[in-house]
């Protein structure tokens, strides 16, 4: 049974009288425990797809099911609850609150899920231990390096034990070495059985994941799936073409 099921998802924006089709009929199944990347150039609609998958946005049409529950027409309140309990986000710019300490930042999702302060503290420390940030719990984000900030953000994404973790260009703001460490961390999370989805424009990063979905002009242009062994070479070609285009 798929964790996430997308059927014919459309998303259109109206910008100054112009209609932009950000997503144009996307259908996709994501199973529990998968490690997936969504790649595509900027403006391809990959971020929109992640926002819809991440319940930050609702599709204009189409159906979206998570855990066999229809969520494409959920209220903003229900979406907030899903984001809180079932989804963890890791962003390119870390998105930590500068006024809070590392531990308080990690506690943030639990404030909205109604945990007691004692429980919040314990679980935040567990999550920080998981990303080796335990000794920095009292620091503020401004006192941390980029990699440390991103690890804090991962701890925050993990703290409510979500069904799926979305990472939007998680290495985009890091040097390549730190970026590798962060990707390794996602790999570990995947090995622990978590569902992780990376959104990136970088084919090298996408290469880390067993399953790769390419988005172009709001449509799934190609999909590399280890289960579809025959199609893999074609995917490699696309990646090469892509890297030429970006460089």
């Amino acid at each position: 049974m798929a964790l996430l099921e997308l059927r014919d998802i459309h998303k259109t924006y109206h910008l100054g009288g112009e209609t932009i089709r950000a997503l144009d009929g996307v259908s996709l199944d994501i199973d529990s425990g998968e490690f997936i990347s969504i790649i595509g150039p900027s403006g391809s609609g990959k971020s929109t797809l992640m926002h819809i998958l991440g319940c930050l946005d609702s599709p204009t049409s189409g159906t979206l099911m998570m855990d066999n529950t229809m969520i494409h027409d959920a209220s903003s309140r229900q979406l907030a609850s899903i984001r809180n309990k079932k989804i963890g986000f890791v962003f390119q710019f870390f998105n930590l609150l500068p006024k809070l300490t590392v531990r308080q930042n990690v506690e943030l999702p639990m404030i909205y899920s109604g945990h007691s302060s004692k429980e919040r503290r314990e679980r935040a420390m567990t999550a920080l231990r998981r990303v080796n940030m335990e000794d920095r719990s009292k620091h503020r984000p401004s006192q941390l390096s980029g990699g440390q900030q991103q690890r804090t953000a991962i701890a925050r994404a993990l703290v409510n034990d979500p069904r799926i973790i979305f990472a939007d260009e998680p290495t985009g703001n890091l040097d390549s070495h730190t970026g590798e460490l962060i990707l390794e961390m996602f790999d570990q999370l995947h090995n622990e059985g978590r569902t992780v989805m990376l959104v990136t424009h970088d084919p090298e990063i996408a290469a880390v994941t067993p399953r790769r979905i390419e988005i172009r002009d709001g449509k799934i242009a190609n999909e590399a799936d280890p289960t579809l062994a025959g199609k893999a070479p074609r995917f490699e070609q696309i990646i090469k073409a892509e890297s030429k285009a970006t460089t």
């Binding site: 991440g54 903003s76 809180n84 998105n95 943030l108 909205y112 109604g114």
Partner: protein
């Protein structure tokens, strides 16, 4: 979302920008402090006025006076008009159960006719010499501090006894003797229009609480200068009015009605003493809410004894009470208006700061929403922050208001002493909370409406 956590984060948010928060709160602080201060001064004034109303007998007192000027249709009967008499008093006692303590009196003012009070070469200038019955004590809210009131027996026998106010004592004797003891002139003889009278009682000294404190303080420090100088003279009409009532009461002399008529009244008339014209009849009604009914009853009785002649008129203290209510109402309105403007400005300050703080925190709101905050959570957070600002401002305002009140009171030494009430403080505080909530509403709605995706992209 936990309410305590929200308040905590609100306080933290305010602490993070404490100087800006202080400036924001300043409006509310001023508003609350000015509201409390205003209310204290108005309350002080109101109490003073109510006190003076009570000192003159309260709302229950009705006075019936002789009226020489008859209504037009009775003008031709002017010769028959006798005014109020003792006959009326007895008739009212028998026929008007809604009033009690019906007290006749003949008043001799020092301004009308000859009145001289003296003792061993020293003279006094009484405000009024009153020939009356012992019930006058209660009607006029007098209190005997030393000796006794004269009795109906004194009245019956026309005894030469009198009860005096403390100012009369001060003029004829002194307030204190050489040893510094207060003089109590009970049993002493004085001359009223050269007729010897024995002092049987003396009233207590009437003065405002404020003056009493001053006097005690002066006494304690051994101050010998004239006490009159330390009394507040009253810089406004209301204070003067009250001071004047105290002055009148302290300068009163009372003698039995019959004594006055028999021994002191030069216009002694022949005929039954029941027909003697009185200055006034005072009485009290049982129930203030039945004022008009009681007045009608008294009127009915008097119309009968006066054979239809309207040679009397009523005087109630209602007008005085209405004056007080109106004066207080006016002051309240203007006071509230000023304090209201202060609070309004405070509220606008909060709106301003909350709005600018929201545009600074769009990204934060986006992050909070992405980790599961609902629009309601964001709304509550912003609203509570502004309420916390207002509450903190309100508390600070309450804290400084006693200082403000005392400073103003000491600057204007002569004015009515202010009275701070819990009620005023609660109202002021309540208003600050209300203003905080209202001011937070608009920014909170704006924040709650933010789209998480756009908010996350915001820089």
């Amino acid at each position: 979302m936990n309410f305590g956590t929200v308040i905590q984060s609100g306080i933290k948010e305010i602490g993070a920008h404490w100087f800006r928060s202080l400036l924001t709160m300043f409006g509310v602080i001023c508003g609350v402090a000015s509201l409390v201060t205003m209310a204290s001064f108005i309350k002080g004034k109101e109490n003073l006025l109510r006190e003076s109303l009570a000192e003159t007998g309260g709302l229950e007192k009705i006075t019936v006076e002789s009226e020489d000027d008859l209504p037009d249709y009775q003008k031709h009967l002017e010769g028959e008009a006798k005014g109020v008499t003792l006959k009326d008093v007895y008739a009212l006692q028998a026929g008007a159960p809604m009033v009690h303590d019906i007290t006749p009196s003949i008043n001799k003012s020092r301004y009308r006719g000859y009145l001289r009070v003296s003792r061993k070469g020293r003279g006094a200038r009484p405000w009024m010499l009153q020939g009356t019955w012992p019930t006058a004590l209660e009607i006029q809210e007098h209190e005997i501090e030393h000796g006794r009131m004269f009795t109906m027996m004194d009245d019956l026998l026309s005894n030469n006894v009198c009860v005096i106010g403390t100012e009369i004592r001060n003029s004829l004797f002194d307030e204190v003797d050489d040893q510094g003891e207060t003089i109590i002139p009970i049993g002493e003889r004085i001359l009223i229009n050269y007729v010897p009278f024995t002092i049987v009682g003396m009233f207590r000294e009437y003065m405002s609480d404020e003056d009493r404190k001053k006097k005690e303080a002066a006494k304690a420090s051994g101050e010998t200068r004239s006490l009159r100088n330390i009394f507040s003279r009253g810089s406004d009409s209301n204070t003067r009015r009250t001071q004047f009532i105290y002055y009148q009461k302290n300068n009163a002399i009372m003698v039995p009605l019959n004594t006055l008529v028999a021994k002191l009244d030069s216009s002694y008339e022949t005929g039954s003493k029941l027909d003697r014209k009185l200055s006034e009849i005072t009485m009290k009604i049982e129930d203030v809410s039945l004022l008009s009914t009681s007045l009608q009853q008294v009127r009915n009785v008097l119309m009968r004894t006066h054979k239809g002649l309207e040679d009397f008129e009523f005087e109630t203290q209602e007008e005085f009470a209405d004056d007080i209510t109106l004066a207080i109402y006016n002051e309240r309105i203007s006071g509230m208006f000023i304090a209201g403007i202060c609070l309004l400005i405070g509220g606008i300050g909060i709106i301003n700061i909350m709005l600018s703080s929201i545009s600074e925190r769009v990204r934060e709101i986006g992050i909070r929403k992405s980790v599961g905050a609902t629009s309601m959570d964001v709304f509550t957070q912003i609203l509570i922050e502004s309420v916390v600002l207002a509450v903190a401002g309100g508390l600070a305002g309450l804290a400084i208001s006693p200082i403000l009140v005392n400073t103003l009171a000491s600057l204007a030494d002569d004015s009515t002493p202010p009275i701070m009430t819990t009620q005023a403080m609660l109202i002021a505080f309540g208003f600050s909370v209300l203003i905080g909530s209202l001011a937070g509403l608009f920014p909170a709605i704006k924040a709650a409406k933010l789209n998480p995706i756009q908010a996350l992209r915001y820089d």
